[in-house]
Symmetry: C2
Amino acid sequence: MVKAERIRIYDVARVAGVSVATASKALNDTGRMTEETRKRVKQTAAALGFRPNAMARALTQQRSFTIGLLTNDTYGRFTLPVMAGVSEALVDQGVSVFLCGIEDDAALARLHLDAMLDKQVDGIIATGKRIDRRLPVDLSHLPVPVVYAFTEGPDDAVTLVSDDAQGAREATEWLAQTGRMSLVHITGPESFASVTARAGAFRAVAGQGAQVLHGSWSESWGHEAIAKLWDGDVPRPDGIFCGNDQIARGVVDALRERGVDVPGEVSVIGFDNWEIVAAATRPPLTTIDMNLKELGREAGRLILDLAEGKPVDPGIRTLPCKLVLRQSCCGDAIAVHNQGEALQES
Amino acid sequence: MVKAERIRIYDVARVAGVSVATASKALNDTGRMTEETRKRVKQTAAALGFRPNAMARALTQQRSFTIGLLTNDTYGRFTLPVMAGVSEALVDQGVSVFLCGIEDDAALARLHLDAMLDKQVDGIIATGKRIDRRLPVDLSHLPVPVVYAFTEGPDDAVTLVSDDAQGAREATEWLAQTGRMSLVHITGPESFASVTARAGAFRAVAGQGAQVLHGSWSESWGHEAIAKLWDGDVPRPDGIFCGNDQIARGVVDALRERGVDVPGEVSVIGFDNWEIVAAATRPPLTTIDMNLKELGREAGRLILDLAEGKPVDPGIRTLPCKLVLRQSCCGDAIAVHNQGEALQES
DNA sequence: GGGAATTGAGAAACCGTTTTACCGATAGTG
DNA sequence: CACTATCGGTAAAACGGTTTCTCAATTCCC
C-alpha cells in the first residue's frame, strides 16, 4: 500500500496552464475552447495519470455510477449467473455494483437498503431464488428506480423472468419429436409458480392426460418417483421431463440401478442446466438453460436506462430458455440439433 | 420510484434552529454543546428522516465506507461463502461491498480495479478459487490496503487461508480413531498446493506408506480410482479420504455399485462440505468444512482495521477446518462427536 | 468603421458534509 | 474587580469536482 498523492484536476489545470473550469470542460468534452487547448489538457491529464474522484463528481452530477444488487439467494445458484450478467453489462459503462445478501431477513434487508440509498445508488436490482416470492422489504416508493430480476415485484414494476412455459414446451416437444410416446413430468412442489407453469406447458404438448408427479426438489424424490412408476402396475414412460437437474439426476441414477438404459429405453431431460449436476450425471443431462446471465445483462441495461431517465415500459419481460443437449436423451439426434445451431450462428 | 427531495443537514439545522456546523457536530457526537441542544438536533433529524449523503461525507472524511471484493471465481463455489462472510462482518459498520468478477481476464480486472479506486474504496479484498494462484492483476503499490483471502498474494501481504493440513489431519485421524486400519487418499492433481498439503498431512497420520491417488477433481475420477483399487490385486482399504466432495461422491457411488457397504465396510470422508454434493450422496458425506464464511468475516475485520489505520501484522493467517459428520463414515460415533460439540457450545 | 454576434476562457457558485478557527457570554480566580 | 478559562455555538473554509455566469477579444455584417 503506497499513499501516493492522488492527482487532482487542479494539478492538471496548473500543469496545462489553464483554469480548473477549463480543464473540467476539456476532459468532459463540454464547453467551448480551441481544439488545441482541449487536446493539451487531455494530454497532460493522461501524462499525469489523472483520474477524477468519483465521489466529488457524483456530488455535483447527482449520479453515482453505482447500483445495488439485492438478493436473498445466499446459496447463489440462481443469483450468481444473474450477478455476473449485471456486472458484465455495467462495468464498461463505469458502473459498479454493490452486493447485498439478505437472507429473508427484513431487518438486514433494511440495513443494506439504507446503506445503499445513503451511498446514492442510481438504481437497485432485486433478485431472488424464486420467481414467485418477494424480497422481505418494500422497494416501491424508493427515490431510485428498481428492476426485479427472477423475483416478484409490484404489478407496475419492471420485471424480468425466464420463460418457464416455453422452456418446458421445448423440452417436451424435443421428447415427442425424437419419438418418445409416453411422457411423464417429475417436478417440485405445486406451490411454486414455475412448477405449475412448466407442468401446464408439459401437458399442453404431451396431452392433458400426461402424468405429472409432484415432490421435493431433490435427488431422492427422483429415486422415489421412479420407484413409483416402475414398481406400480402403471404403464412405464419412455420420456421423462424433470422439474430440475437434481430430480433428473435422481431419476437417471434410479433408472440405471434398475438396469433401464438411458437414453436407449428412456430419455430424460432436466431443468436449470446446473453444470455441476448436469455434467456429472451418467449419462450427462440434456436440460433446459434459463439464460440467467443474459437475464442479468438485460437487467443491467434496463436499470441503466432508468437511471439515465430513459423511458422504460413497466411490466413483465419474459426471456426465452434454451435446450442444451447432452447424452441423457436421444443420442443420435444431438449432432443434427447442434448442426442446426451451428448453421444459425454462422 | 418517488423523487422525494432528500432532507439535507441544512434542513435539519434550520428546523432545529441551529447552524449547520452545530447540527453536524450534534449528529456525530463531536464538538461541544448543551446536551439539550444535541438531543433536540437528533430528534429533529430523526423526525425529518434525515440520512446523511455518504458521498459528501466521504469527500471530507477521506473515507468512503466502501470496499471492493475482487474475485476470479465466477462459479462462486468458494467465493460465495467468503463474500457472505465479508458482507456480514461489514454491513453493521455501514460498509458496503463492491463485487467485481474478473474471469482471469487482466484487462477486465484492471477495469474493475480502476472503477473501484475512482470510487475511493477504503480497501480491497482479493479472493479466488485457488489458494496457490494469483489474480491476473498486481495489487501491490495501491493507495489502499489489500487483504488476500483464499488466493495467493505477495509475501508481505495480509493473507488468509484455510488450514488444509489440519483439515486433512482431522479427517485421517477420525478414520484411524474409528478403527479403520488401511487408509487411502484419493485426491486432485498434484499441481495444487492444497493437494500436496492435504496429502502430506494424510501420510503423516496414516503412515508414509499409505497410498495417495492423484486424478481430476471429478466424480468420474472417484469411480475410476475405486475401479483401480478393487479390480487390481492390491489390498483394499477400509477408509478413504477424498480430496473433495465430488470425488468422494464418485467413490461412494462406485462402492455402492460394487455392493460394498458404506460405512459398514468402508468409511469415506470428503473435503469442502459442499452441501449440494455432500447431502445428496447416499449415504450423505462426512466431510471437512473449510469455514470459508468465517474466513470471509475475518477478511472483513482485517480490511476494516487496515482502513482505519490500525496496525495489522502482515503474513499468512491460517484458519482451522472443521470435521462435519454425516453417515458415510462410522455411523455409531456421530452421536458421540456431536454430543461433544453440543457440550462445547453450551 | 461602428455595433452586434461569436469565441475562448476564467471567476465564482454549487453539491452536502465535516472541520477549523473564532467569538461573545458566562464562570472562575486572586 | 479586572483577567483569564471555559462554554455553547457560528461563520467560513475545506473536500474535488461541475456548471453557470461573466467578460474581453475577436469576427461579422452592413
